[in-house]
């Protein structure tokens, strides 16, 4: 509260008797701080360049898709397909955001300052993970909203808007899947090193280097191996689940298209759950070790 006078009094040290917030609010504060960090908010101008460049690209692509769709009068790509086609951008976004969230803290040695405070050890990595997943989901979801509003305003009648909405919701869910997988894998890799460049390189490597493995597996002379090939890389794993769970949203070309999963759709879903669980478990183990140092 501002004092009515312009004089500065040295009032000495004042004890604090006000409220102290509990674990939930502290977790929330750390989470929000993380989401802001993902987009470079509250950071230097340099830290804002890359995140907002990516955001600019995806929104512009969405706007372009919307504009073309309304011009030619038919859908260019579905919401889920949009998420798929942006996946390579998501990889680079994770490669920048995840080290920013965790590697920086590892390097500067600030973690003892967190772990000497009341929040439980697991809260720090979980809040960061949730923040990264939220950031990725916003990155993929916001352009879908742009597409939705574009389509909604150019369509005629409430029925069309409702159909559009029914298409949007699976798209947002699919974006959530992308976000969950990419955030947990990316954050785990970034938490292993305090060097941001190494972390970024490691993340890109994990996501891109696994693609050739998938390619190799799909040309092996065994149908089962071909159908399970997608499990080898996070990106194809996500696409596999999409094909299994919402085929009409992912595959729109008339000749079928997309990899054939055979009967293994549920395996892909289980693999995704297992992957996220394993990443979270390893992340927590990693921070148990870091905290004891």
């Amino acid at each position: 509260m501002p004092e009515p006078t312009g004089v500065i009094h040295d009032i000495g040290y004042q004890r604090y008797t006000g409220p102290r917030l509990g674990r939930r609010q502290v977790f929330g504060a750390l989470y929000l701080h993380g989401v802001r960090t993902v987009f470079g908010l509250g950071r230097s101008a340099k830290a804002k360049i890359f995140p907002w460049l990516v955001v600019g690209i995806v929104v512009m692509v969405a706007a372009a898709v919307t504009a073309i769709s309304s011009q030619i009068g038919q859908r260019v790509m579905t919401y889920a397909q949009f998420a798929d086609s942006m996946s390579w951008l998501v990889i680079f976004f994770v490669a920048v955001a995840a080290p920013e969230l965790v590697s920086r803290d590892l390097r500067s040695g600030v973690l003892p300052l967190y772990f000497s405070r009341p929040l439980p050890r697991a809260d720090y990595p979980l809040a960061k993970l949730l923040a990264l997943a939220t950031g990725l989901w916003l990155l993929l979801g916001a352009p879908q909203l742009v597409m939705f509003f574009g389509a909604a305003f150019t369509s005629d009648g409430m029925g069309a808007v409702w159909d559009e909405l029914l298409d949007l919701l699976p798209g947002l869910l699919y974006a959530g899947l992308w976000a969950g997988i990419f955030a947990s894998v990316g954050l785990l890799v970034a938490a292993l090193t305090g060097k941001r460049a190494f972390a970024a390189g490691g993340i890109v490597a994990v996501f891109l280097m696994t693609t050739p493995i998938v390619g190799t597996l799909t040309i092996l002379p065994s149908e089962t191996v071909n159908q399970l090939a997608g499990l080898a890389s996070p990106s194809t794993l996500v696409q596999g689940i999409g094909i299994w769970a919402m085929r009409d949203q992912i595959v729109t070309s008339l000749d079928g298209g997309g990899p054939d999963l055979g009967p293994f759709g549920p395996v892909y879903a289980l693999a995704a759950v297992a992957l996220i669980a394993a990443c979270v478990a390893l992340l927590l183990a990693r921070y148990r070790k870091v905290a004891a140092r």
């Binding site: 004890r15 509990g22 674990r23 950071r43 500067s108 040695g109 000497s116």
Partner: protein, 304 residues
């Protein structure tokens, strides 16, 4: 109330390294000095106090709470200043301390207010809005102290707060710690491997060596009744020594100085009388407090 109490506290690390062994100590609130050489177990004790490590055996209590079961409650009331560099270079001191205040459970606006208050108390004013990366070592140490202070703890744990500071910086930091302990009403545990530094500001001193307790007591108890008078004459030191010995004073030599235990005010008169009789040029005569280091040295040699 007991500030910190341990009972047969033992910590053995995974590799079989014993960091603390059978440590039993109880200290009262105030400024407590924890001294010991590097590797004596000081940092391990701090981590046990914070509940970051669990004791292998024995019990530990901080502010009446057990950090191994009530870690969150203990940490809410304790502020910790680590020994090593722990400040992200690209954040400003104000941002960092505010954020850490929120992590301690302060509401947003309170955190901001208390952060600038804490930084003001440690002597950082306008520079608090600049990135920490450009700070001097002294300023960084102050920021580390401010973040430990931001949530108004009841106990501060300071691990080597004078590390890397020049003599003037050390004096300033020690004065600050002394002020926190005496004016702010916050108890302080100061870890240091430099005994001479800590003894200047502590009420209580705990000395550990190789994970074992060497001695724990009030500074006053350690230094009282051990005061000596140091006499220095420009010439005739031997003659004066003989003369004082003849007066039944247990005199001892320390280089050019003669040391005489101070029994009462009469000791002054006896010495001055002897100097005057021998007509020696008196260079100085002053009361010297036994430095605590000498006490430990004497104790260790008597053990050996």
């Amino acid at each position: 109330m007991t500030l910190i109490a341990t009972e047969s506290l033992t910590k053995v690390y995974g590799g079989g390294v014993t960091a603390l062994s059978e440590l039993t100590v109880a200290v009262e609130p105030g400024v407590v000095g924890l001294v010991g050489a590097n590797g004596a177990g000081k940092s391990t004790l701090i981590k046990l106090l914070l509940g970051l490590l669990t004791p292998t055996a024995g019990r530990i209590q901080v502010l009446g709470l057990d950090p191994s079961t009530d870690a969150a409650q203990v940490r809410a009331r304790v502020g910790y200043m680590p020994e090593h560099d722990c400040l992200p270079p690209d954040l400003s001191a104000a941002e960092l301390v505010t954020h850490l205040g929120r992590m301690s459970g302060l509401p947003r606006t309170v955190a901001r207010e208390r952060a600038s208050e804490a930084l003001r108390h440690v002597g950082l004013h306008e520079e608090r809005h600049r990135p920490v990366g450009g700070y001097s070592t002294g300023m960084k140490q102050r920021v580390k102290l401010a973040q430990a202070l931001v949530h108004d703890p009841d106990l501060l744990l300071l691990d080597e707060p004078t590390n890397g500071l020049d003599p003037a910086g050390r004096d300033a930091m020690l004065a600050l710690v002394h002020r926190i302990g005496n004016e702010f009403g916050i108890s302080v545990l100061v870890c240091s491997h430099l005994l001479g530094e800590v003894e200047r500001i502590c009420d209580t001193l705990v000395a550990i060596e190789g994970g074992r307790l060497l001695r724990a007591d009030h500074i006053a108890a350690m230094t009282s009744a051990t005061d000596v008078l140091a006499v220095e004459v420009s010439e005739g030191t031997d003659a004066l020594a003989t003369r004082l010995a003849a007066l039944d004073l247990p005199v001892s030599r320390d280089g050019r100085l003669l040391l005489v235990p101070l029994a009462d005010q009469g000791t002054y008169d006896l010495i001055l009388g002897a100097v005057a009789e021998l007509d020696l040029p008196l260079h100085r005569l002053d009361q010297r407090r036994h430095r605590v280091a000498e006490l430990f040295a004497a104790r260790e040699s008597s053990h050996a």
